[in-house]
């Protein structure tokens, strides 16, 4: 197994992890800070992808389309929060699960009615279609390298905002004691709406980045949602740092597992058995990882809330 291949696969793992991070960051923010289980996060991912595809077609420009798509998802997110989710903050997690599941059905069908059920055509602008040579002998698609870059930048920005700015302080304070912050004169409702909006925008960003490489179709969010939940559980709920680390770990384990597990197994057991066991085990790998982490450290790797 040559080293260049391993390196390439590690890059793939990082890129997959970064996509998961973009989704997980929004979800963990909303769950950790507003104590809201939002199953419809995947729907916001889908909305981001669809709005961007539509905006790119409408304006003919990729950067402009991306901007419009992001803004659109932000607006949709805030609308959803105001209309449907406001009253759910005080409710039981399970009620939140049922309600946000209702939202999933609604959004999937709405998208299907507007755009149809077939996967949409998406493509990369020509200047993003090439390859770069990261190390000699290994070529990597420019777009995927861009995804990694964007994800890391977003991570840094998020951390800065939450840890170093006044807004971040308000968010963290609101999570610890909502009533107290409101008593101090801060408009908690507006704060939560803004936070939810940004969570939505993050999901939308993940969606629009996924658009050119994954299939843009109704229900695309649910396919990735379960992996995102695994990430935030491993990383620790409410922790952005945890979301990043968790996402990278899950991305690497899953990618490297899919690439190398079967050949590795074939060294120890007979090839036909490895053929059968390898793929099955590779699909279960991230769940096994999660079970392991929870067994050793039940709160996840990074604990965000102190109470």
């Amino acid at each position: 197994m040559n080293l260049i291949l391993v390196f390439e696969q590690m890059l793939n793992g990082v890129q997959f992890g970064v996509m998961l991070f973009l989704m997980a960051a929004g979800l963990t923010l909303v769950f950790g800070i507003m104590n809201l289980v939002n199953l419809a996060h995947g729907s916001l991912y889908m909305v981001g992808a669809y709005l961007t595809v539509a905006a790119v077609q409408w304006t003919g420009s990729y950067p402009l389309g991306v901007l419009l798509g992001l803004l659109g998802t932000l607006v949709v997110g805030m609308l959803v929060e105001v209309i449907a989710l406001r009253t759910l903050y005080e409710r039981d997690h399970l009620d939140q699960v049922l309600a946000t599941f209702g939202l999933i059905l609604f959004f999937n069908e709405l998208i299907a009615i507007i755009w149809g059920r077939a996967a949409l055509y998406t493509s990369l602008p020509t200047y993003l279609q090439g390859f770069i040579e990261i190390i000699p002998g290994s070529i990597y698609p420019v777009y995927r390298a861009l995804v990694i870059g964007v994800g890391l930048v977003v991570g840094a920005v998020l951390w800065y905002v939450v840890a170093r700015t006044r807004l971040g302080m308000l968010i963290r304070a609101g999570a610890s004691n909502r009533t107290m912050v409101a008593a101090l004169g801060v408009n908690i409702r507006l704060l939560y709406t803004v936070v939810f909006g940004f969570g939505a925008a993050l999901a939308g960003l993940a969606g629009l980045m996924a658009g050119p490489i994954y299939a843009v179709q109704p229900g695309m969010g649910e396919l990735i949602l379960i992996q995102v939940f695994v990430v935030i559980v491993i990383g620790g709920i409410g922790s952005i740092r945890g979301a990043l680390v968790g996402a990278l770990i899950v991305g690497m384990v899953d990618t490297l597992g899919r690439a190398f597990l079967r050949p590795l197994l074939a060294h120890f057991i007979s090839p036909p058995a490895a053929e059968a066991a390898g793929p099955a085990l590779a699909s279960m790998l991230i769940y096994l990882l999660m079970a392991l982490v929870l067994a050793v450290r039940p709160e996840g790797l990074f604990q965000a809330k102190s109470g």
Partner: protein, 312 residues
């Protein structure tokens, strides 16, 4: 309390009258539809025990539908059609699987418990898909239904219907007795305030584990029933989306109430069937309906019944 009992008794009588009514109206299809609804009501009732009363949100309940279903299927595959044996194994195997999963999961709390139960179900699902011997994800057909030495013929739609009705009532009664016993008290106490129940000297862990196992076993029975009803078993029984559906029935119907799971199963499946017959875009109607029901029916559908205090 009297009005409530009257209403519930009427519902039971109506359910019992369905086969006669349906045949009279020349619509035997409803017997089959309601059979399926009642099977899921049993599954929901089993989940209600640990979720509604115990506060354990198991996202992996569909696993037991699969275990129970495959117990029947695998026996039939090898030519063993004895219903007593099949169903005993369905219940027993589900209990064992629940014990294994529960022993690890019940130690965790909240979202972690949800995720772990979900993870186990996913693993079972992927396992089911890859085992080619029993059809993989193509599933396998149940050519001969469970045989009960001539006592009851499951191929007779009406007889099967009444069997399921009796089993449903039995399940509800069992859950009711469990929940109102000393065992149930500890379980419910642990749900509302775990620290306090520990302070009194009860460690909730063994109680929760036992409840988890019983819940899994009952759901395994539902799986065996479903396999006989559909005459087909697939790993799809164990998909996490199925677990979600059962959970929604419990939540919609009213968690921690006796009629809750039945109401939830009926409402969800019958509304689905009605809407689907109406338009292919039924999900855009069902979605907001679910949201509205959560926003307005604070204690689920059961909260609409008179005298709707907890328990019942």
């Amino acid at each position: 309390m009297r009005a409530r009992t009257l209403i519930l008794a009427t519902c039971v009588l109506l359910l019992a009258a369905v086969p006669a009514l349906a045949t009279l109206a020349g619509q035997p299809f409803y017997i089959d539809l309601l059979r399926r609804v009642m099977i899921f009501a049993i599954a929901a009732a089993s989940l209600n025990l640990i979720l509604g009363y115990g506060g354990l949100v198991s996202f992996g309940h569909a696993a037991y539908l699969g275990v129970g279903g495959y117990a029947v299927g695998i026996f039939a595959f090898y030519g063993v059609h004895n219903g007593w044996l099949q169903w005993a194994v369905a219940i027993g195997a589900s209990a064992l699987v629940a014990l294994a999963i529960g022993a690890i999961s019940v130690r965790t709390r909240g979202i972690h418990f949800i995720m772990i139960t979900l993870a186990f179900t996913q693993m079972l699902y992927f396992l089911g898909i890859s085992v080619e011997e029993y059809g993989g994800d193509d599933g396998m057909r149940l050519k001969v239904k469970s045989q009960f030495s001539g006592l009851i013929d499951l191929d007779d739609p009406t007889a099967f219907y009444y069997l399921i009705l009796v089993l449903l009532l039995g399940t509800l009664y069992l859950v009711h007795r469990l929940v109102n016993s000393r065992f149930g008290m500890v379980l419910r106490a642990a749900k509302s305030n775990e620290a306090r129940s520990r302070a009194i000297g009860f460690s909730p862990y063994p109680y929760q584990l036992v409840a988890f196992v019983i819940s899994g076993a009952i759901c395994g029975l539902a799986g065996a029933l479903l396999a006989n009803h559909t005459a087909y078993i697939t790993p799809g029984f164990m998909e996490w989306t199925r677990s979600g559906e059962i959970m929604f029935m419990v939540i919609l119907g009213g968690m921690g109430t006796a009629p809750g799971p039945v109401l939830g199963a009926f409402a969800l499946l019958i509304v689905e069937d009605l809407l689907a017959g109406w338009t292919q875009h039924w999900q855009i109607i069902l979605g907001p309906l679910l949201v509205l029901s959560v926003l307005f029916f604070r204690r689920g559908l059961a909260g609409l019944l008179p005298g709707g205090r907890k328990g019942g």
